[in-house]
C-alpha cells in the first residue's frame, strides 16, 4: 500500500506546553489508522496541523510522497484532506444541503444553484450509505446525523483522506455501529481514514493500525490484529489500567432525591418526560439507561431547574425544590456534571480559575467583603483542583478554550465533585475521557457513594451504567419502564427494556 500521509518530526508548542514533540506518523492508502492517547496527549493538535489550522514549529508533511506546506484549511482541502472536528461547526438554522455547500457554493451566474447542491448531496449520500436528507434543518436532526453531515461536507469537497476527531464520543451505541459501516464503505471505495478515539473496543473493531501518543511523543505504532485492549491501555497511559470497576456492597440510606410524577416538554414543546417517578438514596448510585432522546436530557434539566416543570415534584432531602431557580437547587446541595460541556459546563472564554467557581461563585470561601471575589483564594482553589484531578494545563490562568476536550471535562468533574454535594447528577461524565481518566472518575463517583452521598448517573454507555450503578432505571419514551437491581442486570435484559419491551416477571 502506498503511503498517502507522512508527517515527519512535527513539533508544536503552546505557551507553557509542548503539545507535539518530534512526532512522526505515516498513513497508508485505504487504511483506518487510529490515533490513541491520553487527554491532552496532542492528538487534536497534530490533526489540526495536518488540516492547516495550526502551523507546526518544526517538521514537514508529505502528501502522496510530495512535500507540502499546509498553511490553511483551503490548502488541505485542495490536497484532498478533510476533517470532522471534536466539536461540530454547523450552522443550526440552515438546511443540510446549505451547510454542505457553505464556502464552496455551486453558482449559476451570480445566484446560488441550490438544486444542483441538493442533487450532489443526495448522490454522495447514496454512494457511501450516509442516508442524509439534504432538506432537513440541522437543528432538527440528531447528533449522529449532524456528524454524517460533517462527513458529507468533507466528501463534497473532494476529500480522499478523512480525519475524524473523536466522532464516537457523542454517538449512541447504535449510531456508532452505523458509523462503523460507513467507515468501512468509505475505505472500500479507496478513502483513507485517520480516527481519534478513546474507546478501545472501537479501536479493536474498526482499525487497521494504531499509533499511540503520550505527552506529545509517539510511543509506538501497532498492527491492530497483533495487539489487545490491555496492551493498548498500558501503552497509552504508561501503567496498568484497571478496566473493571471495584466496589463494595452499597449501604443505601434514606432518599436524597425524590422525583414524583414529573412532566416536562422538549424544545419543540412536545412532552418529553411523561410522568416520571423514582428516588435516589444516600449511599447508592442510580443509573439511568436508555437510547438517546427518550427524555433523559429533559429529565435532568427539569431536576436541575434548567427546564420548566409541567407537573409533578422534586424533593431534595425531603425539601421541595420543584421549579426553583438553578441557584436555589445548587445551594440545596445538588452538583451537576452536564452532558454538553461547551454549552453548559464552561464559559470557554473565562480562565480556568473563574470556571472553577462557576455555580459556586457566591460561596463565602471565595468572597471578600461580601460582594467582592477573593481572587488569590480562587486561584489557589483552581490550582488544587488541577492537581488533584490531573487536569493537564500549563497553569490555571489559561482560558478553558485552550484545554483539550478531555481536560475540559476533567475540570468540570473536579469542580462538581469537590463541592461535596448531597446529590451528584452525572450526565455522560466520562464522555471524551481516556481510559486512565475514566478509571479515576469512576473511583471518585464510587467514593461519593461510599461516603453516603447520592449519585444519579445518566449514560448512553451500557457498560458504564452496569458497572457503576447499584440500581438501574431504564427510560423509554419519556417514562421509566423498569428499575432493576444492577446485580440482576444483563445487557440483554436492559436492551429489551430500552427498546420498549416488557420487563421479565421475576422482579
Amino acid at each position: 500500500m502506498p503511503t498517502v500521509i507522512e508527517m515527519k518530526g512535527i513539533s508544536k508548542s503552546f505557551p507553557g506546553i509542548k503539545a507535539n514533540d518530534n512526532i512522526s506518523l505515516s498513513v497508508e492508502q485505504g487504511e483506518i489508522h487510529v490515533l490513541l492517547g491520553e487527554n491532552g496527549a496532542g492528538k487534536s493538535t497534530l490533526m489540526n496541523i495536518l488540516y492547516g489550522l495550526y502551523n507546526p514549529d518544526e517538521g514537514q508533511i508529505l502528501v502522496k510522497e510530495k512535500p507540502v506546506v499546509i498553511s490553511n484549511p483551503n490548502v488541505a482541502i485542495e490536497l484532498g484532506i478533510g476533517m470532522v472536528h471534536q466539536h461540530f461547526m454547523l450552522v443550526q438554522p440552515f438546511t443540510v444541503a446549505e451547510n454542505i455547500v457553505l464556502g464552496s457554493e455551486p453558482s449559476k451566474g451570480i445566484t446560488l444553484d441550490m438544486n444542483k447542491a441538493i442533487k450532489d448531496v443526495e448522490e454522495i449520500s447514496k454512494k457511501y450509505e450516509l442516508k442524509v436528507d439534504p432538506n432537513s434543518k440541522i437543528q432538527d436532526i440528531s447528533v449522529g446525523m449532524q456528524q454524517r453531515v460533517e462527513i458529507l461536507k468533507t466528501l463534497y469537497r473532494g476529500a480522499e483522506i478523512l480525519i475524524l476527531d473523536e466522532p464516537t464520543a457523542v454517538l449512541t451505541p447504535q449510531e456508532i455501529e452505523e458509523l462503523g459501516i460507513i467507515m468501512k464503505s468509505l475505505v472500500s471505495q479507496g478513502k483513507t481514514i485517520i480516527l481519534i478515539t478513546h474507546k478501545l473496543k472501537e479501536v479493536m473493531a474498526m482499525s487497521d493500525r494504531v499509533t499511540i501518543i503520550r505527552r506529545g511523543k509517539v510511543i509506538d505504532t501497532l498492527n491492530t490484529k497483533n495487539t489487545d485492549i490491555d496492551e493498548l491501555a498500558e501503552k497509552m497511559v504508561g501503567r496498568k489500567v484497571n478496566l473493571t470497576v471495584d466496589k463494595k456492597e452499597s449501604k443505601a440510606g434514606t432518599p436524597v432525591l425524590e422525583v414524583k410524577g414529573l412532566k416536562a416538554l422538549d424544545n419543540r414543546d412536545l412532552e418529553a418526560v411523561k410522568g416520571v417517578s423514582f428516588e435516589v438514596n444516600g449511599g447508592e448510585i442510580l443509573g439511568i439507561a436508555g437510547v438517546d432522546g427518550n427524555g433523559q436530557h429533559e429529565l435532568i434539566e427539569a431536576i436541575t431547574g434548567l427546564r420548566k416543570i409541567q407537573a409533578g415534584e422534586v424533593l431534595i432531602n425531603g425539601k421541595e425544590i420543584t421549579s426553583k431557580p438553578p441557584r436555589d437547587i445548587i445551594s440545596s446541595g445538588v452538583a451537576h456534571i452536564p452532558e454538553d460541556r461547551h454549552k453548559r459546563g464552561l464559559v470557554l472564554d473565562f480562565p480556568l480559575y473563574e470556571n472553577s467557581i462557576l455555580g459556586n461563585h457566591r460561596a463565602k470561601t471565595f468572597s471578600k467583603h461580601k460582594f467582592s471575589l477573593n481572587y488569590p483564594k480562587i486561584r489557589e482553589h483552581a490550582r488544587r483542583l488541577i492537581k488533584e484531578f490531573d487536569v493537564r494545563t500549563p497553569n490555571e490562568k489559561v482560558k478553558a478554550r485552550a484545554l483539550s476536550g478531555g481536560n475540559q471535562q476533567k475540570l468540570i468533574i473536579a469542580r462538581e465533585i469537590d463541592r461535596d454535594p448531597y446529590l451528584c447528577i452525572a450526565a455522560q461524565p466520562t464522555r471524551g475521557l481516556d481510559v486512565g481518566a475514566i478509571e479515576f472518575v469512576h473511583k471518585r463517583l464510587i467514593e461519593q457513594r461510599d461516603s453516603g452521598k447520592a449519585v444519579l448517573l445518566i449514560s448512553l454507555e451500557l457498560d458504564e451504567v452496569m458497572s457503576l450503578s447499584d440500581r438501574i432505571a431504564v427510560m423509554y419514551d419519556g417514562k421509566i419502564v423498569g428499575v432493576i437491581d444492577a446485580k440482576d442486570a444483563t445487557e440483554k435484559k436492559l436492551g429489551i427494556l430500552m427498546a420498549g419491551g416488557e420487563a421479565q416477571h421475576e422482579e
Partner: protein, 375 residues
C-alpha cells in the same frame, strides 16, 4: 504567610503586569500606525501631514484653554464609552447610549431648575444622580424588553433614542422653555458643578469641570465591579455564554436588565454633567448629539476595558477638538474622520495582532521551505 506564598503572589503580580503591557502594546502600535497611514492619506490629497498634525495638536493641546476643552469632550466620551463597553461585556450592544445621554441632560435641567433653595453640594449631587438614573431607566427599559420579550436591544435602543430627542425637545419648547427661545431655562446656581475656572484663573476660558474626576472615578468603579465582584463575574459570564451562566445559577434575565441599567446610568451621567457643568441648560436638538455614537468607537478602541476607555476617550477628545484647527489650516476636516476610521479599524479589528501573526506564520513557512530545500 510563608515565603512560598509570597513568592507566588509576587510572580503573579509580575505576570499581570506583563499581560497589561502586552495588552497595551498592540493598541499603542495600532494608534501610531493609524496616524502614519492617516498622514500618508493627507499627503495623497496634496496637503502636508506635518502641518495637519501639528495643527491638530495645537488645536487640542496647544494651550491651557484648548487642553481644557479637549478634556471637556473627554469627560463625555469616557462615560458614553463606558456605557457601550459595559453593555458589550454582558453581550449587549447599547446603541441607546445616545438617548440615555439626552434623558440625563434634560432630567438634570428639571432637577437643577425645578428644585430651589438647596445647599449646593446636595443640589449638584441630586442633579447628577437624577440625570444618571433617568439614563439608567431609559437603558434598563430596553434591557427589560430584551429579557422579558426577547426583542432586540439595538432596535429598541434606536427607537428609544428618537423618543428621548423628541421628549427633550418637547420639554424645551414647553414646560422648560426660556422666553420662546430654542433652549431651556437655566439651572439654579446651586446645581452647577464646580468648574476649574472658579479656583484656577488659568482655566478661566474653559468649561472644564469636576465632571472629569467624576467620570474617571466612575470608570475605576466600573472596572472594579466588572472584574472583582460577584456581580461582575455574573455579567461577564452572561456575556460570554448564557447557557453556562444559567447552569451556574446565574439569573440571565436580571443580569441583562442590570447591565443595561448600568450602561444607561453612565450615559445618563454624561448628559447630566453636560447640563450641570458645561451648558447649564439644554438646547433644542436638531438631531443626535453624537456623544452616544462616539462612545461606540471609544469602547471599541478601548477594548471594552474601563481603563482602556479612559485612554481612548482622551485620544478621541484630541481628535475632535483638534479637527477644526486643521480646517483653519486648510485641511479638510474629513481627515479627522479618516484617522478615526483607520484607528477603529486597526485597534478594534486587532489589525496589528493579526498582521503580527501573519508575519510569524510566513516566517515559519519560509523556514520549513528552506529546510526542505536543504534536504
Amino acid at each position: 504567610m510563608d515565603l512560598q506564598k509570597i513568592n507566588v503572589q509576587k510572580s503573579e503580580r509580575k505576570e499581570n503586569l506583563d499581560n497589561l503591557i502586552k495588552q497595551l502594546a498592540y493598541p499603542l502600535i495600532a494608534i501610531i500606525t493609524s496616524f502614519v497611514v492617516g498622514g500618508l492619506l493627507v499627503a495623497a490629497f496634496g496637503s502636508n501631514p506635518i502641518v495637519a498634525y501639528s495643527a491638530m495638536l495645537r488645536g487640542s493641546l496647544g494651550d491651557i484653554t484648548s487642553i481644557g476643552e479637549t478634556l471637556v469632550i473627554t469627560t463625555y466620551l469616557i462615560l458614553t464609552g463606558l456605557s457601550i463597553a459595559f453593555g458589550f461585556r454582558c453581550g449587549l450592544f447599547n446603541i441607546g447610549a445616545e438617548g440615555q445621554f439626552v434623558m440625563g441632560a434634560i432630567t438634570a435641567v428639571w432637577i437643577g431648575w425645578g428644585l430651589k433653595g438647596l445647599p449646593p453640594f446636595l443640589h449638584v449631587t441630586l442633579t447628577l444622580v437624577g440625570g444618571a438614573l433617568a439614563g439608567g431607566f431609559w437603558g434598563g427599559f430596553v434591557g427589560w424588553l430584551k429579557a422579558r420579550l426577547g426583542s432586540h436591544e439595538v432596535i429598541n435602543g434606536i427607537m428609544m433614542n428618537y423618543i428621548a430627542v423628541q421628549l427633550s425637545n418637547f420639554w424645551v419648547r414647553t414646560s422648560l422653555n426660556q422666553d420662546g427661545k430654542a433652549f431651556s431655562v437655566e439651572i439654579a446656581d446651586s446645581a452647577k458643578l464646580w468648574r476649574f475656572s472658579e479656583t484656577f484663573s488659568v482655566f478661566s476660558k474653559t468649561r472644564l469641570s469636576g465632571g472629569l474626576f467624576v467620570a474617571i472615578l466612575v470608570a475605576l468603579v466600573a472596572y472594579y465591579v466588572l472584574n472583582k465582584t460577584q456581580k461582575g463575574f455574573e455579567i461577564r459570564a452572561v456575556g460570554f455564554n448564557q447557557h453556562a451562566a444559567e447552569y451556574g445559577g446565574i439569573n440571565v434575565k436580571n443580569n441583562i436588565i442590570l447591565a443595561m441599567f448600568s450602561a444607561g446610568l453612565f450615559a445618563g451621567l454624561a448628559g447630566a454633567i453636560m447640563t450641570s457643568a458645561m451648558q447649564y441648560r439644554v438646547n433644542q436638538l436638531m438631531g443626535f448629539t453624537g456623544f452616544g455614537m462616539d462612545g461606540i468607537a471609544v469602547a471599541l478602541v478601548g477594548n471594552n476595558h474601563p481603563i482602556g476607555v479612559i485612554i481612548s476617550a482622551l485620544l478621541f477628545g484630541i481628535l475632535q477638538k483638534g479637527g477644526p484647527m486643521m480646517q483653519i489650516e486648510g485641511i479638510a476636516k474629513e481627515v479627522v474622520f479618516i484617522v478615526q476610521g483607520i484607528l477603529i479599524l486597526f485597534v478594534a479589528a486587532n489589525f496589528v495582532r493579526i498582521m503580527h501573526d501573519k508575519y510569524k506564520i510566513n516566517k515559519e513557512l519560509k523556514n520549513s521551505l528552506n529546510k526542505r530545500e536543504g534536504k
